[in-house]
């Protein structure tokens, strides 16, 4: 079965025009002025993995459009008793789900769900694969700060290998011709990452990545996903941590982004996290209108 219309499984196969439509719609959305576009709809949030930002902003986005939300987490549900992904999907569909938002530790889990359940499925992060709503809100944030994607250079620094945010961001920015520089040690930024999309370059040197860069996206070293890989954190800090001195190497008007959660003192210092160039909380704020657009699109209400 093909995924239901309105599903958002990844950025890779989303067209640039569709992305711009989402941005245009998001710009009109204000969670403080509710629009009952999803009145009476039931949005199920299936979270098989921890989340703060994504979960709460999907919830607020859905509620501010008049939908009911039901949160199902692996702990405290039948998932804990061994219910399969698909059986959970069939169950929430039977209860009356109109949209399923799913976060899952396994890459492709939303695809499996979408192939078997006849309602739109929204990927809220699947394993190492994609995190489309994050990429959309990040690109939306870039656009609001830089007005255009034209001529931009974005440096993505850190654990690209384990990052679904980085994969989605690469797909998205590449569609708009943005120059993308990935920076980190080979274990975290493999050379093969350049095959993801056109316009991607890999460098091991932070100064090389920052020179001429308009946007710096920092990533967390994901200790929980390293799977036996040993990273020397002190060396990582010495080579890649974003501090005020390094920030000066980028363009003067460069902005610093981070999908969160941030680990102060590891991938960035507090001066950078709290500095004038940081847009980390703006990203979080932009998460709500962006996800309103995603949910409206899922129900065919994005007009």
């Amino acid at each position: 079965m093909n995924p239901a219309r309105g599903s958002l499984l990844g950025i890779e196969h989303l067209e640039a025009a569709e992305i711009l439509r989402l941005f245009k719609f998001a710009r009109r959305m204000n969670p403080d002025r509710p629009r009952p576009l999803l009145k009476g709809k039931r949005v199920f949030l299936l979270f098989y993995e921890a989340s703060t930002r994504t979960r709460s902003s999907f919830e607020i986005a859905a509620k501010s459009m008049g939908a009911h939300t039901v949160l199902i987490q692996s702990i405290g549900s039948s998932i804990e008793k061994g219910e399969s992904l698909l059986d959970t999907g069939y169950t929430v569909r039977a209860v009356g789900a109109d949209i399923i938002v799913i976060r899952h530790p396994n890459a492709g889990a939303p695809f499996v769900m979408a192939q078997h359940i006849d309602v739109p499925v929204i990927n809220a992060g699947d394993g190492l694969h994609e995190h489309p709503s994050q990429a959309l809100l990040d690109a939306y944030t870039i656009l609001r700060n830089k007005k255009t994607f034209k001529g931009l250079q974005v440096a993505i620094v850190g654990d690209v290998f384990h990052s679904r945010v980085a994969r989605s961001a690469c797909h998205l920015l590449s569609k708009f011709g943005v120059k993308i520089v990935l920076c980190g040690p080979p274990e975290l930024v493999p050379d093969i990452a350049t095959t993801l999309a056109p316009g991607i370059r890999v460098t091991r040197h932070i100064d090389d990545a920052l020179r001429g860069t308009d946007v710096i996206m920092l990533l967390r070293v994901q200790n929980e996903r390293l799977s036996g890989l040993k990273i020397d954190l002190l060396e990582y800090i010495a080579r890649y941590q974003m501090n005020p001195a390094r920030l000066k190497m980028a363009r003067k008007d460069a902005i610093v982004m981070h999908p969160g959660p941030i680990i102060r003192g590891l991938e960035l210092t507090s001066e950078v996290a709290d500095g004038a160039q940081a847009r980390i909380l703006e990203e979080v704020r932009n998460g709500v209108p962006t996800r309103m657009a995603i949910l409206a699109r899922a129900m065919g209400k994005m007009r």
Binding site: S84, A107, G108, A109, V112, I192, T195, S227, G228
Partner: protein, 440 residues
């Protein structure tokens, strides 16, 4: 071993009008074949065999068909004992018969692991309902834990034809060395699933651009090649050691095997139809029917395997038939079971991919299903249609186009990436010990 050895008084079967390919005897010509009492009684030019007037001779019209020695699959998972929800010996051998296989070597990674004489005996009991010959490959170490070797001599005595910890490798150098020493003393092949599992934790496909894009952890080619290299090194230096590399999938591992063969080590290996047909780039939408171990590799690995199939280096095509129930496959890709079915599609994939597309002669393909595998595991009297050989015969139409429908499979499981594929080359009849066990 099971059941269908030669029996007396079975009557006779005359296969007429076919084109006989018997690579072991260097025969590739229009010939008739007479089977009698479970053996090959006569091979002769068309219309030269006269069924004795007072004998009851059944005739089989083989016009337009290739008449070949019965196919031998060195590597199948028939899932018994213990996993009858995936497959049984009865259903697995029914699928084998439909795929032209008259002999199947079944892997010991069952529940419990087949690591004792008792379980070998159990596998051979008539109650298992085997439709074709089943040869047991026993575990190489107790419970396949890789720590203590099983009793090779006793297992061989009970009828096991090789040992392996398939599904897992024998990682410890010292254990593998001991196993190979015994293999030389007993002339008993050790089959290695070559994967350094220390490097493949949580991996579900080949490591490459595709796995990076899909966010799946990848098994590197090195994880296979490093084990094959070590094993070939050991086999080269242990007198008479017999190493058989299961389902070889990478160009690098192939280099090691080629070196071993040049050094006259007794190293054999098999490749699977899926590894010469598909690559990691063919997997779409996290379809777990593309998940198997070893995984589908890169296009350059596939090219290397095709070259080795064509130049005679590959010893056998084996299916690695690995049935799983739907609920073990229809799930998150990373959690789904490894393996696909393969018995019913092997010949057609070989003809479609290797013969029609790559112009590998049919005689070479037949060799890879018959004489080649028979040599790997010393299956005496099989793999050839010389007079006196066991009357296992496979008849197929090399030009017949057909569509594989997994739902119609005789296997209990339907986990295959080839569902709906249009293929060329179809098995028309399978004869085991002189008896027709499958006819299309």
């Amino acid at each position: 071993m099971t059941m269908t050895g030669p029996k007396k008084d079975q009557g006779a079967l005359l296969i007429k009008g076919g084109h006989l390919i018997d690579p072991a005897a260097r025969i590739d010509a229009p010939l008739d074949l007479l089977l009698k009492d479970g053996r090959v009684a006569e091979v002769a030019p068309p219309n030269k065999i006269k069924g004795g007037a007072n004998e009851k001779v059944e005739k089989f019209d083989a016009r337009g068909l290739i008449v070949a020695p019965g196919f031998i699959d060195l590597h199948a998972h028939l899932r018994e004992p213990g996993q009858a929800h995936k497959e049984t010996i009865a259903t697995g051998t029914a699928a084998a018969a439909a795929g032209g296989f008259t002999s199947v070597c079944t892997m010991p990674n069952t529940v419990p692991v087949v690591d004792s004489v008792e379980w070998i005996d159990w596998l051979r009991q008539p109650e298992r309902g085997a439709l074709v010959n089943v040869f047991a490959v026993a575990a190489a170490t107790r419970a396949s834990k890789g720590a203590t070797l099983t009793d090779f001599r006793a297992l061989q005595g009970a009828g096991a034809i090789a040992v392996t910890d398939d599904g897992k490798p024998i990682l410890e150098d010292i254990i593998m060395r001991e196993a190979l020493v015994l293999s030389g003393e007993l002339n008993f092949p050790v089959v290695q699933h070559a994967e350094d599992t220390r490097m493949t934790e949580n991996c579900s496909m080949h490591a490459g651009a595709r796995s990076f894009r899909l966010g799946l952890r990848g098994m590197t080619a090195a994880a296979e090649a490093s084990i094959v290299e070590r094993d070939v090194q050991l086999a080269t230096h242990i007198p008479n050691a017999r190493l058989h590399v299961a389902h070889l999938s990478t160009a690098d591992a192939l280099k090691s095997v080629r070196r071993g063969k040049r050094a006259k080590a007794r190293v054999t290996f098999e490749v699977t139809p899926h590894h010469f047909t598909l690559t990691d780039e063919d997997m779409r939408d996290y379809d777990s029917n593309y998940k198997m171990n070893p995984p589908l590799r890169s296009p350059s690995d596939l090219e290397a395997i095709l070259a080795a199939l064509a130049d005679g280096t590959v010893d056998a095509i084996a299916t690695d038939h690995a049935p799983h129930a739907a609920h073990e496959k229809e799930m998150e890709f990373e959690r789904a079971a490894f393996g696909i079915t393969g018995l019913e599609t092997a010949l057609a994939l070989a003809i479609t991919r290797l013969h029609r597309e790559k112009r590998i002669p049919l005689a070479r393909i037949v060799e890879l299903f018959t004489a080649g595998p028979a040599r790997c595991f010393d299956l005496r009297g099989r793999g050839s249609l010389a007079r006196g050989a066991i009357a296992d015969v496979t008849l197929f139409d090399p030009k017949k186009k057909w569509t594989f429908d997994a739902a119609q499979s005789r296997s209990k499981s339907k986990n295959t990436p080839f569902d709906g594929w249009q293929l060329t080359g179809k098995v028309v009849a399978t004869i085991v010990g002189g008896k027709i066990v499958y006819a299309a």
